[in-house]
């Protein structure tokens, strides 16, 4: 469902284009089948409301409450506290450090991952490569491994005494405070390169072959075609994967959580979502809700800014 949210600006654009061209017919159809439309929309609407709007609304509501109690074991009552929890959020050093940490992670990891994904997609699409089917599958297989399993597996590979590559891990501690963030980045990259490659690759397949023919007639080689024809045409797909990646980065949870048992350097507030998780296990649900709302807003602002930025670049 959040995928649809991230998709929406793009989807809206194309939907707007479609409705503009087919407007008269569409409105006629709508009048005729109101019941049917309702029947199709209702299941989505109900689930969307129940599992998306209501929980978000509840989180916002919880974040506005504070707890009052009398005595050392006094029973708690929740009362309206305005923005008290949000003030605590903005005063919370570890939370903002964790945001800074995942931003640093994103700035390095997302371009590396998408660069690799683009490279692999272009290679798969080029006539130079043999065994395309095999490579397409091979690149995609890590994504079929559940994220937690992948993290456990890499945890063992990094482990100084249990790794099959002890010659390396005994000398370089991949789980140390300096390196563990990048060790996690490596796991995330390993898992998601194939997935992003597939999105970009399918966009490449949608390019009409006449364009390549024309480019070749103009004397362009494979590299030139890739750079001047393919990449500009698949830019929307790359932007889409970038937005997914930005959102995913801010929401890192499973990998660092698994790495907590392998590494001394992963704290209970390593990523924003881990902070939310450990706050809710105090349990301080109100503060955890406020963290979540702030994190969601930060994610939204960042994705939206990125989208605006790239769109403006496209139009110029």
């Amino acid at each position: 469902m959040s995928a649809s949210a991230a998709l929406s600006p793009d989807a809206q654009g194309s939907a707007a284009r479609v409705s503009r061209t087919k407007k008269p017919r569409a409105s006629k159809v709508r009048v005729q089948h109101k019941g049917a439309i309702l029947a199709f929309v209702l299941p989505f609407g109900i689930l969307f409301g129940l599992f998306y709007l209501v929980p978000i609304g509840y989180a916002v509501y919880e974040s506005l409450l504070v707890i009052k109690r009398e005595g050392t074991f006094g029973a708690a009552t929740e009362v309206f506290g305005g923005f008290t929890q949000y003030i605590l959020v903005f005063q919370n050093g570890p939370f903002w450090q964790s945001i800074g940490r995942v931003l640093m992670f994103g700035v390095v990891q997302v371009p590396v991952m998408l660069g690799l994904a683009l490279l692999f997609a272009l290679l798969l699409d080029s006539p130079l490569l043999r065994g395309k089917r095999f490579f397409r599958l091979a690149f995609f297989v890590p994504y079929a491994v559940p994220g937690v399993i992948a993290a456990i597996m890499w945890g063992y590979l990094y482990s100084p005494n249990l790794s099959p590559f002890r010659a390396v891990t005994e000398n370089i501690n991949f789980l140390s405070a300096d390196l563990v963030l990048w060790s996690i980045a490596n796991v995330v990259t390993w898992v998601y390169v194939g997935y992003n490659m597939l999105i970009i690759y399918s966009a490449l397949l949608a390019i009409p072959t006449e364009l390549y023919e024309a480019a070749r007639l103009d004397g362009a080689g494979q590299l030139r075609i890739a750079w001047s024809v393919k990449i500009p045409l698949i830019m929307p797909a790359i932007v889409l994967t970038a937005i997914f990646s930005i959102i995913g980065t801010l929401q890192l949870l499973a990998e660092p959580q698994v790495f907590r048992s392998f590494s001394s350097a992963v704290t209970s507030t390593f990523t924003p979502n881990l902070t939310v998780y450990s706050t809710s296990s105090i349990p301080n649900f109100n503060l955890a809700a406020a963290f979540s709302v702030v994190l969601a807003l930060a994610t939204f602002i960042l994705s939206f800014t990125f989208l605006k930025f790239t769109q403006r670049k496209e139009t110029t």
């Binding site: 074991f73 708690a76 482990s159 997914f244 048992s261």
Partner: protein, 443 residues
Amino acid sequence: MHMKRRAVAVALLTAATVALTGCATASSPDGTASADACAPSTGKVDLTFTTWIPGVEETVAVWNKANPDIQVKVQTGPNGNGGTYQNFFNQLKAGNAPDLGQIEYDALPNFRVQDGLTNLAACDGVLDAKSDFVDWTWGQVNFGEDKSVYAIPQDAGPMAMFYRADLFKANNIAIPTTWAEFATAAEQVRATGGYITNFSQSDINQFAGFVWQAGGEWFKNDGDNWTVDLTDPTTTKVAAYWQDLIDRDLVSTNPPWTDEWNNAYNSGSNWTWNSAAWGANSIASGAPDTAGKWAVAQSPQWKAGDKASGNWGGSSTAVFKGSKHPYEAAKFALWLNTSDEALTMLNKSANLYPAAKSGLELPALKAGVPFYGDQAIYDEFAIASAQVSPNFVWGPTMTQTYNDVSDGFKAAVSGKGTLSEALKVGQTNTIAAMTAQSIPVNK
């Protein structure tokens, strides 16, 4: 890109929020010690019991067979801080907690302050059971109040020292009886290539056990205010001691409860473990290749000739707020934790060391244990159990305290900061966490 992970996160959050949506701000008008009503139910009663004791199902089956009218269904989960407490808190907020749950002593104040526990004092036979249990364990469940019983003690974790008898003998190193000797022995062990022990960066309750043994007290509750004292001279002394061993690379610092950690014991590179009675099970399962080579001695003392022990862990069986059958639940909890039959079975399946006095006399706890070279190891724990100070009080936000101190300890073993600094941060954050929930605390 991170679709799968996001899907998982979204599913988790949705599940959590749906659970939360069912919440009601249910709370009794006052939190003082007034026993909840406790009358028997009519007809057949079904109880749910969430626990992480290995093999508890067999013990409960015995109860179910003998009590057709009180049927108990067991749900197992990860250990408390590994996820079960979080589930309990969520379930309590959603109003669908199980009838009974396993809660370690250190988490009881946390559950009480969240109004999650039923005061069982009015239930049949519960107040009378006081004399059946080791004193300090009863102190943990009644919070020092005469008319309160918030859980039935189950097991205790008096601490002693597990050590590799064969290695100490072969290398001619004396078994340390004081912490000073322990440090000397640590140097000798290091000279052979091994480590005397592993300093556990995330078992803050083990460190608390060391402080407990040394006579420190982390929390006080005078009825009006909590006092937090993670930085008292005793705690600082214990922290400085271990910091020194870490600095001199005399103890290993593997993350506990991992394969890496097991491997260090299994391969003979770690020689001792100051742990609780239930730890006997952990070594036997984690280091199977070392069978027969271990022995148990009393923990090293701070002053030669002293007789003090700490405690690490130990659980109680609590009845959650909202249970419709506290009478039956209390009856089951008493049977589970006082009957010879249940205690014998639990000791066999999980090496549980009973909190009930009668349990300490069980034949199963008098016999020699083959893994420990046929030593009657529970005799050592019985001595330790009697030496545990009854004054140690746990705070009302231990999950948070553990998290914060553990973050600092982890940094300290990686060479950033010290254990004492971590405890200072823990002190500040604990007070902040209590203030955030308007729990009265002295600043």
